[in-house]
Every structure is written in C-alpha cells, then in structure tokens.
Amino acid sequence: MQITTLSQPSLKTQLRSLFVIARKDWKVFWRYPLNAVSNVFQPIIWITPVYFMGKAFSTNGQATGFAAYSGSGDYMSYILLGTVLTNFILTVFWGMGLALKEDMDAGVLESNWLTPVSRLLILVGRTLTSLLTTTITSLVMLGIGAALFGFKPTGSTLAAFLTAIPMLLGLYGFGFAFAGIVLLMRDANTLIDVGSFLVQGFSGTNFPVKSLPYWLIPVSLMLPLTYGLDAIRGFLLKTNTLMPINIEIIILIVFMFVMLWGGAQIFYRVERRVRKLGTLGQH
C-alpha cells in the first residue's frame, strides 16, 4: 500500500502559514502592552549613564577624545544608532531560538513540527512580528532619545538602510544555527544573555572598536557585525570607518551567503538528531 499524505504544500500554503504565525505573534505582543513600553524605555535607561559619563569626559560640550577615534564628537548619535541596530540584531540573532524555547515551554513545539510547513519558515515567521514591533518601538525610542540627548544624522539614510539588509539576512543564518542549539540544549538563557552582551561589546555598538585594547581588536574584527555597524554609521553619521565602505559591504554580502547556507545546514543536522533522540517535546 502506498502511503500518501493528505497535505498539499504549495507556495501559497507556505505563505499563508507565515502570515498566520506573524498574526498570532502580533496578538500575543499587544496582549501585554507594558512590554512595548518597556521595549521603548529600557534602551534609553541603559544609555542614560553613558550620556552623563560622556559629559564628564567633555570640555565645553565637546567629546574630543571620542572624536579622535570616530571622526565625530557627537557620541550620543553614535550610541543611539548603535542601540537601534542592536534591537534589530537581538530580534534576528536570538529571537528564533527564544521563540523555539517558548514553544517548548508551552508544549506546542511538537504539534507545530507535525504540520506540513518548512521548519525554517516557522523560524522566519517568528521573526516577522518582532521585526515590525522592533521597528515601531525603535522609532519611538529614537524620537524620545533625540529629544533628550539629540540625534543628528548628516548622511544618507537610504544607503544606511540598504547596508543593513545583507547584515540582517546574514544574521538569519546565525539565528538558524542558534535555534538548532536551543533544540539540543533546551535551555539557553545564560548562553543568550552572555552571548548578546559579548557581541554587543565587541562589535562596537557603543564605541568605535579602534578604542578597544589591542589584544581584543582581532576578536572584534572577526565579527561580521562590526563591519555592518561601522558601514551604517559611516553612511548615516559620516564617521571614520575601519576599511573603505565598499570593502565592508562586500564582507557583509559574503557573510550573508555563508551564514544563510551554514546556519541552515547546522539547523537541519541538529533537528534530525533531535528527532532521532525523540527529545523534541521535552524541555
């Protein structure tokens, strides 16, 4: 007897499931509006000490030391832009792994896995709403931050936006690999907390990586995010970049293809192993 499946997956059904996942997450997000408020104010709270610390390092309102590294004394625009980009990085970088963990805890992962939907698509679907809500909360945060600390972009917003695309797509690849690790380890909170702090630190979200101690600079240069943040700032704030911007963009595009392919491979291998072990539903 030939076994046939009743499901008829097609591009249309895949897109419909993507939409359904995004709509479900949208409902859940706005069910807890305090989270949205927290997403807006948390980054502002974290950078406020930097604002006042910068004042303690400035003469007549000019952070000349910072300008010597970055080419711009406007350290708050530099940090605010870094914070906005970090919000997006966190959404893609860790968001898919966290979403899997939530599904594990809620006990719905195994049943979701049985649906005739591409598993990578399930992961991507979990980031769609996050990307939209991150855009909304980041814009509000940027508005408040600009009113409190000042934000003066002097360069091309379009060029900066286009540069962010390969960076974020490359991060999806990392997100796939990380989601695989969550499937295997089942608890990755410490990994996420520590990892995101280190990545933030070494990719230069708050400061130019040139200012790092010399023995830490190689670590920073190994992270593709460093070039993404650097190039975007170069376009939008006209800061000095580590390399010519064209080369940084080429690095980002290569990184995008390598990470998307590599991340998907890692995820599929781990997922196959977890299915063999039968631990998919455990948490």
Binding site: P49, K55, G65, S211
Partner: protein, 289 residues
Amino acid sequence: METSLTPQSLGQRGLLSDIRAFLAIIRREWTIFIRYPSWIIAMLIWPLIFPMLYILTARALSGPDGSGLAVFMKTTGATDYIGYIIIGTTVWMWQNIVLWDVGFALRQEQMRGTLESNWLSPTWRFSYLLGHTGPQIVSMAIFVLITAIEFGLIFGVRLNGSGWMLALVMLAAIPAIYGLGFAFASLVITVKEANAFVFLIRGLVMIFCGITFPIAILPEWMQAVAKWMPQSYLIHAMRTAAFSNAGVNELLPDLIPLLSFGTFWLVVGYLAFIWMERRARQTGAIGQY
C-alpha cells in the same frame, strides 16, 4: 448533655521553633542554590562583562591621547576610572539581584504551589523572606569578592583605602537594599507579574545614582531626586572608602542617611508584608497565580 469543643492548634509556636524554621528555610535555600551549578558561570562572567561595556565606552571617550580621561579625573576627583565605574555598576548589580532573588522569593513559592501549605505551618511568616536573605547575602559577598579579584588581576585595579571601611559601608547598606527587596516581595505577591517594576526601580538607580558619573554633573532636579535614593550614598561612600584613606568620621555623612533609609525601608518592608498577609487571607489569593 451538651459537649463543647474548643479548637486547639497542635502547633506550639515559640522563639525556639521560629529560629528552627528560619534555619530550615536558610538550609533549603542553600541546598537549592548549590543544586544548580550554572550560577558559578554567571558569578564568574557577570562581574566582568557588565562593567566592561561602560569601561570600554569610557576608554573610547578618553581618546587615544587620554585627553578626555584627564577631564574625567578632574571632574570626578577619581584616581582610577575603572575602579570608579566598577563600584557604581557593582551596587547596581547588587540591587538588581536582590530585587529578582528576594523580591520574587514568595512569588516562586506561589508558582511552585508550596506557598499556601507553608503559610499554614505554625511559624513566623516573615521568616520565609528572612530565610531567603541569608544565602543571598553570602552569594553577594562572593560576587563582590570575585569582582575585586577579576578586576585586580585583569585591569590592575587596586584599593587605596581600607577594606574594613568598605566592608562597613556595605554592611550599613544591607538594611536599605534588602528592606526595599522585602517591600517589593509583598508587591509582587499582590500584583503577580511585576517584571516591569524591577525594570523601573533598577532604571531609577541607573539614571539617578551616578553609577558611572558624579551626581554633581546631573541637572539640579535630578540631584534632588538622587538625594532620596540610598544607593547614591552607598556608591559615594564605597568610592570614598575604596580610593581614599577616609575613616568612619569622613564616611558619616553617607553612613547616617544610609542607615536612616535602611530603617525606613525595613519598616516599610515589614508593614507591607503584614498588609499583604492580611489581604491575602481575606481574599484567599495566596495560592493563586
């Protein structure tokens, strides 16, 4: 013939039984603490990486020639900017950890489903919170020690002042830090999901108490707010004790308000607990989550 029964509790509460219950809670908390050794990693890594972000930003603000650093030293009176930042961030982490650990202690019991049954035992109920505090203070002492060792070894931060004075200041801060935690624990048990309140309180400490900068640099209205927060005095006193030869007399302007806030928060914490306990019994909400 009519008979009447007066209900009598089998529990014979006394000072000794209360102390025994208190010690049992401490032992339980300690057992749970050492049962999950992932805290070792967290304890080694967090003291290093949290201040690191601010330290590296300060390094960038200094400039390649250190010109910015000279301005910072002049503004703050500090001799070691890394030590200056570490003290501020350590106080922030202390308050943050207490809010999560002590503040959510009763909530965790509620989630596990053991709070209601514990509530029925003939013990002094406040000991549930006090019992959480003992192991927490020990783990925080280890945390501070690890911070000092790591930054001493990696960044060469040295104390110019007295370790005893530093210990005295931290001891004087315990009532204020933990009193706030007790008050918070009662709030959490009442409103259940209170993560946003933790973000609010720790955010206030971060903005107003000068964890990476001197309070004098704040606008006047913000300085006025900072004066009502014990963490401001704690950070100032710890910096004075750690990096100068200040004795008790020099530290008194910070120690007196610190102890006053401590008394205030302990009383508020205890009263909030009594209020929450009565309210929970009246509404029957103690076991709900």
